[in-house]
Symmetry: C2
């Protein structure tokens, strides 16, 4: 089953992909829902990020061996794979959906990198989970492009703006339930303007989703809709530039596609807002 | 005006403190509200954290000089005050209100430290704010005890569990609007079991609330209810132990009081939950 969230008449509604249409539901996949008579052609659906997380957790260190090697070389210091999952946070305010623009801040260093990642979505509240309980609390899998401003990542004491500026967390296009996803045979591929930038075996991650959920839930309560980003592999170059279109595909999970625009070129987008 | 949030008939409602009573409102201080006829004696009010933040930002490095000196000594490395505000995140899932217990995880290193902090609460949506706009988007000030497990802070690559385990972010008791708070004359005092552990001038912070809001809003949209923690001063010892009661008082903002309990002593509190 492929769960999505779409904008309809100015409101966010959940639906599921049924071939060429999205069937809208009353309710959501985390609680109860009822399929309505409303369908939208999948290609016309105005997709939002497929859930509205309360928390976004991320592998807090490299979670693939060749990314650790690349990052050590890039930053000029030894960056180790953590022995157990170390957790980072990402800002829920940075989340955008499929096809929404990634906005390059005006004062960027120019080093805007993609990170194509498998992500897990929590379906139930959980605390102190065993590995089996952890897997049973998963709603499904989706894709995240963990956009990173490497210049700021190198200069700042935290990853706040380097990974969490508005629009830096594209997620989608939908959430695929576990029985439809085979991580062992999956590849993650990132394309810039249709050209392959990196391709790696998704399943070669060091700490898997269950490892992360067990570790997080030892200290923190997991909530429905929480997202866990599972890291990327290899280099994350070339840098993205305004005008580029970046796609992340994970076999079986669809394609997450976002254009890159410059804040300078769109001064009206980000003006001071008051509610 | 002192805004609070309280539990009434199993639901969270906003109210404001009017002498010895809390007057409950329909609505909230971020949008529109109407004062109801319902009042609760202030001392009987079941206070929750005074808002339900979407994001909690924090001074990402020391924000008072003598805390930087103490932390450098404690961790055995030079910890500098950042030249401009560097931002950290705290987990919204860790927030508790006044009088709620801080639960010491079973595998603690024993180094559970208080950090008595002034916190600002955002009242309006904002992006790319000037200093004047930043101050006009503040709903008010409250108190946070930025509970930190120093052993984990030293050993981990991120501050995820050291600062964000469930119950590690007491906030409250209420939000005081700016015209009622004079930072220049205020002191922050932390007491353990009634005995003073530290007292410092609240206004000696290096980067103030407006500095933080300007910097955050350069990259991230601020939302009503977001909280910004402004750092602590001096040492944060002795470690808290089960059975202790810790209080943080900031002149004019009230007293935030929380007992400390052990997860070991309360195995039922944190069992596996399913929604």
């Amino acid at each position: 089953m492929k769960w999505c969230r779409l904008r309809r008449n100015g409101k966010a509604v959940y639906g599921y992909v049924d071939g060429v249409v999205v069937r809208c539901v009353d309710g959501d996949p985390f609680g109860s829902y009822r399929t309505t008579q409303v369908t939208v052609p999948t290609e016309d659906a105005d997709l939002l990020a497929p859930c509205d997380p309360r928390m976004i957790y991320a592998a807090g260190g490299p979670n693939y061996h060749s990314h650790a090697a690349w990052a050590s070389d890039y930053f000029g210091r030894d960056i180790k794979v953590p022995a157990r999952p170390e957790i980072g946070y990402r800002a829920v305010t940075a989340v955008i959906g499929n096809e929404a623009p990634i906005i390059l801040p005006a004062d960027t260093t120019g080093q805007l990198h993609f990170e194509g990642e498998l992500a897990g979505v929590v379906g139930q509240t959980g605390r102190h989970l065993s590995r089996e309980e952890a897997l049973s609390c998963v709603l499904g899998y989706t894709i995240c492009n963990d956009i990173t401003e490497r210049g700021w990542q190198a200069s700042d004491q935290t990853t706040w703006r380097s990974k969490n500026a508005d629009t830096f967390k594209p997620v989608g296009p939908w959430i695929t339930t576990p029985e439809e996803f085979d991580i062992a045979s999956a590849h993650t591929e990132v394309r810039i303007n249709g050209e392959m930038a990196i391709r790696f075996r998704t399943g070669e991650l060091i700490h898997d989703l269950a490892d992360h959920l067990v570790e997080i839930s030892r200290y923190c309560t997991l909530h429905p809709g929480d997202i866990v980003l599972l890291g990327t592999d290899g280099p994350t170059t070339p840098s993205l530039r305004p005008g580029d279109v970046v796609e992340v595909e994970v076999s079986g999970l669809g394609v997450l596609r976002n254009p890159v625009v410059s804040e300078r070129a769109q001064p009206g987008v980000l003006r001071h807002l008051t509610s």
